[in-house]
């Protein structure tokens, strides 16, 4: 789960990481009052959306008075911000963060992620602050300092020294960085993050470190023990159909193709998308109804799938294990009766109770194309796409 910059800064502040003075708001008037409270210039107005690259898209403005802050907020609130991470549709700005400006001597990168291969957290730092760390890693990996943290021992002071001196900082700077590294790591660990990142971490002319931007991604599987974090979920930042799907515990991701698909199991769902592509069509979505799906879940999944207007053909590919084929067939026939389906539906069923499942489809009186095997299914989909033109 992602959260906004202002929320991440709020959390990190609680862990002793210094952040610029300021607050988020939804109205220009309040933006002006926050700027007045800050009481100095410059003031920075930042659009709050779950995507990077906001500066280039006009989502960050530096102003010199509360009046200008109000104007900038007025302009930003409600605008659709398009960045390289939002896709062409962009995101609507609903909140802005009003902050004091910081005089920047140098920008540093500091982040914590889980190293999958080593099965432990790794702290990464670089003096190429402000740049995406993936880019630095690809272009000049020698500029990144890494420290792996032993999960049973925790982060130790010598490791922070290794990071600081590894970056080539002065002794006084390493001392000032210590609390920030410890605070960021502690927040990462205690809040079940998958990523906690301060980029850039600014070294000010006065010699202090301050988090100019912050990003935290949380482990969905850890949210059950962090109700306060789960409450920060912003549904406005998610595609409406995906929000709808999540209500039924369905895993749906919208794509731009013409073949809608419904599959059980994430791996088979991806493989089904891939085979659609192999046949020359494009998958319109990822939809995993899971191993323990009920008739109700299948029905809702099918409805969500069908509400995408770009769909020309539907491919249902089920390998029944725990999910029985007759359950799936009942869900689909019920859904088709309720929704107006005017595109071909190719169904491939295999596995547990497959005969009962095929029987439900055949006796429904509805027009399904039944496929035997994944290959046959893909070919029938390709054929249907061609006829639909």
């Amino acid at each position: 789960m992602k959260i906004h910059e202002y929320q991440a800064k709020e959390i990190l502040k609680g862990y002793g990481v210094s952040v610029p003075k300021g607050r988020a708001t939804e109205t220009p008037g309040e933006a002006r009052r926050i700027a007045e409270e800050i009481g100095r210039k410059p003031i920075v107005v930042k659009a709050q959306i779950h995507a990077g690259g906001r500066g280039k898209g006009g989502g960050v403005q530096v102003v010199n008075s509360p009046e200008e802050a109000e104007k900038a907020a007025q302009k930003m609130l409600g605008m659709t911000l398009i960045t390289h991470q939002t896709g062409p549709a962009g995101r609507i700005v609903r909140k802005v963060l009003i902050e004091e400006g910081v005089d920047i001597k140098e920008e540093v990168y500091l982040g914590v992620v889980v190293d999958r291969s080593r099965a432990c957290p790794v702290i990464m730092a670089s003096r190429e602050g402000g740049m995406e760390i993936e880019k630095v890693a690809a272009e000049s990996p020698e500029k990144i300092v890494k420290e792996w943290v032993d999960p049973s021992i925790g982060l130790k002071p010598f490791q922070v020294n290794k990071i600081g001196y590894g970056l080539g900082l002065e002794p006084a700077q390493v001392g000032k960085m210590r609390n920030i590294v410890f605070g960021l790591f502690k927040a990462f660990y205690e809040k079940d993050c998958l990523l906690a990142e301060v980029n850039p971490l600014v070294l000010t002319k006065g010699g202090d470190f301050i988090a100019l931007d912050a990003k935290m991604n949380f482990d969905d599987n850890g949210l059950f023990r962090h109700k306060e974090i789960a409450a920060l979920r912003d549904l406005n930042e998610e595609a409406p159909l995906e929000v709808e799907a999540s209500k039924y515990n369905l895993n749906y991701i919208k794509l731009d193709g013409n073949v809608g698909c419904m599959v059980n199991g994430a791996g088979l769902a991806m493989a089904t998308m891939d085979i659609i592509k192999v046949t020359g069509a494009e998958p319109a979505n990822f939809l995993d109804v899971g191993g323990g799906a009920t008739v109700e879940m299948v029905k809702n999944g099918f409805k969500i799938l069908m509400s995408d207007p770009g769909i020309k053909v539907v491919f249902i590919n089920i390998f029944g294990g725990i999910l029985r084929c007759d359950t799936l067939a009942k869900g689909v026939t019920e859904a088709v009766r309720e929704v107006n389906v005017n595109v071909p539906v190719v169904v491939r069923l295999e596995g547990t109770n497959v005969e009962e499942g095929r029987k439900v489809l055949n006796e429904s009186g509805l027009n399904f194309t039944v496929a035997i095997g994944m290959k046959d299914g893909a070919e029938k989909v390709a054929e249907a796409v061609k006829t639909k033109g």
């Binding site: 991470q85 889980v114 999958r116 291969s117 099965a119 432990c120 957290p121 995406e132 760390i133 993936e134 890693a137 690809a138 032993d150 999960p151 049973s152 660990y189 079940d192 998958l194 482990d219 969905d220 599987n221 850890g222 059950f224 023990r225 895993n251 991701i253 794509l255 599959v263 059980n264 199991g265 994430a266 791996g267 088979l268 769902a269 991806m270 493989a271 089904t272 998308m273 891939d274 085979i275 659609i276 592509k277 192999v278 494009e282 998958p283 990822f286 995993d288 191993g291 390998f319 029944g320 294990g321 725990i322 295999e350 596995g351 547990t352 095997g373 994944m374 290959k375 893909a378």
Partner: protein, 293 residues
């Protein structure tokens, strides 16, 4: 032979009295797996279908000589369950639970390593040596005893591949679901080494997907240490970057972990990479024919 589990494996089911635990215990017993004990704290002394239930795994080990565990407990308690199994001397731990916090797994991994326990999963359909032993939730009847070793990060996609093989008369030595999470126990490299040594295994199938670098690490290992043929399919060529595709571990992050990169790495290591998931069975048939002629 087969790897990791066979007719000598004696299983304890942790969480045997829960819905899932009970359902799959029955399925496992029906398949012929020796389920010798169950474990649910507070339910010690009860019996489930004649299987004795214990309060702790240690009691189960002492009383029934169990040497493998199947874990069917909710995500919040799964880390504890895995550590208890390892602490009690269980050597093969199969954790079926989906949704365990990543940082819990960080802790579990270290604990298990120190105690020399082997973990399959979590978030796995389990492990099956057809005709001998099944610890997991896969449908037993689609499998057939034979000579192809399978390792996979996915559940139903593995059933798909197994089904394609079985319908062509090609059996499997052992099928292992390594799990769809970010942090897992046994990985491809461990299994490649086991299958390479197993005299019954003639060839292997690796089913991978986007996210992480496990497939690339496998490619490096295959190049140096594997002489038997390996066939691979990598799911997610059409997956969008930055999105988690159902499995916690299936995400292209910062442009890394794409299916294309993985296919290239495996191809370079001499692995036959199939692009069409419907053709895995056919490809394996060709490989086996080539070896036998």
């Amino acid at each position: 032979m087969s790897i990791l589990v066979d007719e000598k494996t004696r299983v304890v089911v942790q969480g045997i009295t829960g819905n899932e635990g009970l359902f799959h215990t029955r399925q496992m017993v029906e398949y012929g797996t020796k389920v010798v004990a169950g474990m649910t704290p507070g339910k010690g002394g009860q019996k489930v279908d004649g299987i004795p239930v214990f309060n702790t795994v240690l009691e189960a080990v002492k009383e029934t000589n169990t040497n493998a565990s199947a874990i069917f407990v909710p995500p919040a308690f799964a880390a504890d369950a895995m550590m208890e199994a390892a602490d009690s001397g269980i050597r093969i731990i199969v954790c079926l639970t989906e949704g365990i916090p990543t940082l819990d797994m960080v802790m579990v991994q270290e604990y298990l390593k120190e105690r020399g326990a082997t973990l399959v999963g979590p978030n796995t359909p389990g492990i099956i040596s057809p005709g001998k032993c099944k610890i997991g939730v896969m449908a037993g009847y689609i499998h057939k005893q034979g000579t192809v070793g399978i390792m996979s990060r996915s559940g139903t996609l593995t059933y798909e591949v197994v089904d394609q093989l079985t319908k062509k008369g090609i059996g499997q030595s052992t099928c292992v679901g390594i799990g769809g999470d970010q942090i897992i126990g046994l990985d491809y490299v461990d299994l490649l080494a086991f299958f390479e040594k197993d005299p019954e295994t003639e060839a292997m199938i690796m089913i991978g997907e986007i996210g992480g670098t496990a497939e690339e690490e496998a490619a490096r290992f295959i190049e140096k240490h594997v002489s038997k043929p390996v066939l691979a399919f990598i799911a997610g060529l059409t997956a969008p970057p930055g999105r988690r595709m159902g499995h916690a571990g299936a995400i292209i992050a910062g442009g890394k972990g794409t299916a294309k990169e993985k296919m290239e790495a495996l191809g370079k290591a001499g692995v036959r990479v199939v692009r069409n998931p419907a053709l895995v069975g056919e490809e394996m048939e060709t490989i086996l024919k080539g070896r036998r002629s």
